[in-house]
């Protein structure tokens, strides 16, 4: 029996009074991209730090390839690559020197190192800038070097902590392609992101994390399904009308619509019929909407629906 790439069981972590992780559990299979999706401060980085041995859990356990991140930390470090929120490369060294340094520190055999560094530079489109100091790199290029640095010792498990934050669209697309290639070769990737699109595009499995808890988990399709088959959005000209409409629909339809500005959002399994009923009710009370849309739920809808309770109480 082979252990999963990552196993997190009932992990808790507090910093003083602040609970960062409150009973977090999930599992990442080998060769899979798993996305931890959440807002800033939701607990994404705290989770990654425990898995990369940078921090230890207060309770529960975390394993990488069956190795405990506390008791077998040294062995875990041999098998992981980390790209943190900062592009952690040395500005005054060239791209090639940065990769060689990591190679030496991870004990890549000397005769292999030069080839491996060349291979990574080529693959990440860095050959041209390889012998220039990193200081002059663009944000996207730095990021690519940062990810390449995490791969010098060929780790079977890779952590990407918000890898595309602050990148332009082109760099983001390029990075996504690289992640897909790595996964095709069998690397397991734990990705943290606040971008639903990123999770949707890359991950086979997503855990939505909010306030240090996993509030939902599943494939992108499953998460969308949790919101209902379709979303009805009804827009009004004024806040006052939105409030009245929300009250009416809550009373007569039995399910509370979500309000966002002057837009009401209904999640429904029978989109068209639900729209008809809503329009009938609004018409009977002379509440005229200005816009009406019926669409498939996006991951955004799922995220908002799943984290709404904590979002409002805050």
């Amino acid at each position: 029996m082979t252990a999963p790439a990552i196993l997190v069981e009932h992990v808790r972590k507090s910093f003083g009074e602040v609970t960062a992780l409150d009973d977090v559990s999930f599992k990442v299979e080998r060769g899979e991209v798993f996305a931890l999706l959440g807002r800033n401060g939701a607990g994404k980085t705290s989770t990654v730090r425990i898995l990369t041995t940078n921090s230890t859990p207060d309770a529960g356990r975390a394993e990488v390839l069956g190795l405990d991140t506390v008791r077998q930390a040294a062995q875990v470090r041999n098998r992981i690559g980390l790209t943190g929120q900062y592009a952690a490369v040395d500005d005054n060294l060239t791209g090639r020197e940065n990769l060689r340094l990591i190679g030496r520190l991870t004990h890549v055999p000397r005769r292999e190192l030069a080839d491996r560094v060349d291979g990574l530079l080529d693959r990440f489109g860095l050959t041209e800038v390889a012998d220039r100091p990193v200081k002059g790199y663009s944000g996207g290029t730095r990021r690519r070097l940062d990810v390449a640095s995490a791969l010098v010792h060929k780790p079977p498990v890779l952590f990407l902590d918000e890898p595309t934050t602050g990148l332009d669209l082109e760099s983001r697309l390029a990075l996504w392609d690289m992640v897909k290639e790595l996964v095709a070769e069998g690397t397991a990737v734990l990705l943290t992101t606040q971008y639903l699109e990123e999770a949707d595009r890359l991950a086979q499995q997503i855990a939505v994390i909010d306030g240090g808890r996993v509030v939902a988990e599943g494939s992108p399709a499953e998460l969308k399904a949790k919101v209902g088959a379709s979303v009805v959005e009804i827009g009004f000209a004024q806040e006052e009308l939105v409030r009245q409409a929300a009250d009416l629909l809550t009373r007569l339809e039995g399910s509370a619509p979500q309000r966002e500005g002057t837009v009401l959002r209904l999640n429904a399994d029978d989109g068209a019929a639900a729209t008809m009923r809503a329009m009938t009710i609004l018409d009977a009370h002379s509440l005229m909407p200005t816009t009406l849309a019926l669409r498939e739920p996006s991951l955004d809808d799922a995220f908002l629906a799943l984290t709404a309770h904590t979002g409002e109480s805050a």
Partner: protein, 266 residues
């Protein structure tokens, strides 16, 4: 390129790995000094300015029985310069924390003290360069050590060794502070405490009575006692042993503290 193989990477022995990791990191830091010479400025300019300040301005007011003041001063400046160097260690490590490098290093299978030892080795090389500059200046200003060239060299080596040990104190502070500007400020008090209440510039027996026991036996004064002994041809085995004991003592206490700071900063 396959990345998902389950083979355990072959690991060299722990000690040889620690040494080779340290030198890999030292290489990185030396490259930094070569690429950005301004990083060297602070650690070179300050000792040079201090030599001039004390030689031309304060020196005349400081009586040192049995010696020309410049003979007393130059070994003191060597001590001052390794402590300035140690402050550079703190600032550099704090910058590494801020850049996220420390976090990545911790997640790599790098032997624990190597990331710190590497920087301190590089900074010791830099201190050696500064020592040569200070000695050269001293010779120009009339520094005439009575000790043999070998004894003078041994004196420099001993001061560099002391600087290596003292740097771990400052490394622990730099890692604890975690950003370069604060590291500069946070290391200032220990620096002053160590250098100005020592025998670096002024003989301790001219200080206030209550301060003298500390000023005579604190680590830097102990090191300076031995270094002056070697350079001025009055070497006493006891002084050298006292200095070496401080080196060992500082390392025993502050290497673990610095590694703990590293762990927290990661």
């Amino acid at each position: 390129m396959t990345t998902a193989t389950e083979t355990t990477p072959r690991q060299p022995g722990a000690l040889s790995a620690a040494i080779s990791d340290s030198f890999a990191v030292a290489g990185r830091n030396l490259l930094n000094y070569r690429r950005v010479p301004s990083l060297l400025m602070a650690s070179t300019v300050q000792p040079v300015m201090t030599v001039l300040l004390f030689y031309f301005i304060f020196g005349g007011a400081i009586p040192v029985p049995g010696h020309e003041y410049v003979d007393y001063l130059i070994p003191g400046i060597l001590g001052w310069s390794v402590i300035i160097g140690a402050q550079g260690t703190a600032v550099g490590l704090a910058a590494d924390v801020k850049a996220g490098l420390v976090q990545r290093m911790w997640s790599l299978p790098v032997s624990r003290p190597a990331f710190l030892a590497g920087r301190i080795i590089a900074d010791t090389v830099r201190n050696a360069v500064v020592a040569v500059i200070v000695l050269g200046m001293g010779l120009l200003l009339g520094f005439r050590p009575d000790g043999s060239p070998a004894a003078v060299a041994a004196g420099v080596a001993l001061m560099l060794l002391f600087g290596f040990a003292a740097s771990w104190i400052f490394a622990a502070i730099g890692l604890g502070v975690g950003n370069p500007e604060s590291a500069q400020a946070a290391t200032f008090p220990p620096m002053i405490l160590m250098v100005f209440s020592s025998s670096a510039f002024v003989p301790p027996d001219t200080m206030k009575g209550w301060l003298q026991p500390y000023a005579e036996h604190q680590p830097l004064s102990a090191a300076l006692g031995a270094v002056r002994g070697l350079m001025l041809g009055e070497a006493t085995t006891g002084a050298v042993i006292e200095a070496l004991a401080w080196v060992v003592g500082l390392l025993v206490v502050f290497v673990p503290l610095a590694v703990r700071g590293y762990r927290k900063a990661a």
